[in-house]
């Protein structure tokens, strides 16, 4: 399944509503975006997802670490 945020074909269904299976939850294995089947189309559909919040691979690799990982201490 295509991830609405990063467009990669990495979406998987990973949970169903405990009651009546009334919705499913999906997760992108690449960018960790999580969405529910009952959300609005502009959340679930990659073509409708807001361009400001799209995730591009080249941007992801440049993102800041928070907090920075410290150097290992010598034992």
């Amino acid at each position: 399944m295509l991830c609405p945020r990063c467009d990669k074909d990495e979406g998987i269904k990973f949970f169903e509503a405990p009651k009546d299976r009334s919705w499913e939850l999906y997760r992108c294995q690449y960018c960790d975006f999580v969405w529910r089947s009952t959300e609005k189309d502009y959340i679930k559909n990659k073509d409708l997802y807001h361009p400001n919040f799209k995730m591009r691979e080249d941007e992801m690799s440049k993102m800041m670490d928070k907090p920075m990982v410290p150097p290992l201490k010598k034992r």
Binding site: D20, W23, C31, W35, E39, N52, M64, P67, P70, K73
Partner: protein, 468 residues
Amino acid sequence: MPYKDLRDFLRRLESEGQLLRVKKEVFPEPDIGAAAYAAGQISNGPAIFFENIKGYDKKNVVMNVHGSWRHYALMLDLPMDTPVSQLFEELGRRWDRFPVSPVVVHTAPLKEVIIKKDINIFNELPVFRINQYDGGPYLSKAIVISKDPEDIKSQNLGIYRLQVKDKDRLGIQAAPQHDIAIHLGKAEELNQPLPVAIAIGNDPIITLVGGMPLQYDEDEYEMAGALSGEPTKIIQAETVDLMVPAGAEIILEGEIVPRKRAIEGPFGEYTGFYSATMRQAEVKIKAITRRKDPIIFENLYIGKPWSEHDYILGLITSVTIYKQLKAMAPEVVSVNAMYCHGLGTIISTKSRVAGYGKIVGAKLLATPHGLVYPKVIIIVDEDIDPFNLNEVMWALLTRFRADRDLVLIPNAPGSTLDPTGYPRGLVTRMIMDATTPVPPDIPLQDLSLVEPPEEAAEWMEQLKLMGK
């Protein structure tokens, strides 16, 4: 202690007409976030208790629990319409009882159900997306408990946003200014996981102290005891060596994975903007202990001020800074750090020497909160109430001289959530000293204040009577 747990406080809110039960079925998105936002926009808006979440049985959600000054007053067991200035003074008085040691108990409802296999947060909590472009569901009001790996007596409680990424995996914002980042840094230097416990659905004072910018070695449980008037009850977590609040609804136990960062966010934040997506730490959940169903999932709506976030953190941050500043500068009279989590802070003070306002501003930067947050700092005289923005503006416009009273500190640390950072996390801090110049400084051109007419007070009473 006025309330032993969240349920106790919710009963009080309901009895005072400050809790609204939503019995109809609601969708996790967008209903809960939308209703919580709406509650925050209503003057003295109620807490919202959702009884029927689509897809869940016996799982409740409560929002806006701290979302008005009325709730704040009730939390402190004060009359519901206690003015904010009196809430400030009362918190200051209670602070002086610090430290009040917690008591350890050996049984608590949060041990009724213990899960150590097949961890699935989505089974246990009806988590939901709060704002529409958040990267996923978030725990926005949970208390994260951790210890300094080099000093196991040093335990910290803090509210850090947690993105629910998978059944047993959370993203965590451990910003460098937060105590947990010190714990994490020490663990990561040794390539060791950092054990954490996450307490959800707490008595309102525990949530309050979780947001206090205390000194690193000050214990939040001891502060909770001081603010509530009774020792806080704590209990040993099941699988990690951490003490958790005994009144909580549910505890997630696990560890922060060392030296790993992964995509987290965006998340609608207290600035009113979505935070950037960054690579942040992750928590692996290994056990869950909780009350029997129906449990109550307490969460927080956060966005453009004012929201519940500003009620929870605004006043207690002001009191904390006041107490810390007062220890360094006894002339300080009051502090208002209620705007955007203290990005704007107003301090009233007497002047010990000429130019003293600038020194008070600099001392603010030396407090734990001052490390990154206050960037627009206004210093006023003792005759100005920093909570009265009309008075603050008057002081700025009649006492502040830009050429002599403005201090800019460029390239200073700032919150990475501040959209003015350039680059992100670096800002220019500004101190505006709007105190009246004292010798040997050059005096103002006019020094004689227009005093109110002597008979004004009497007339005020008469006019009030005429208006009835």
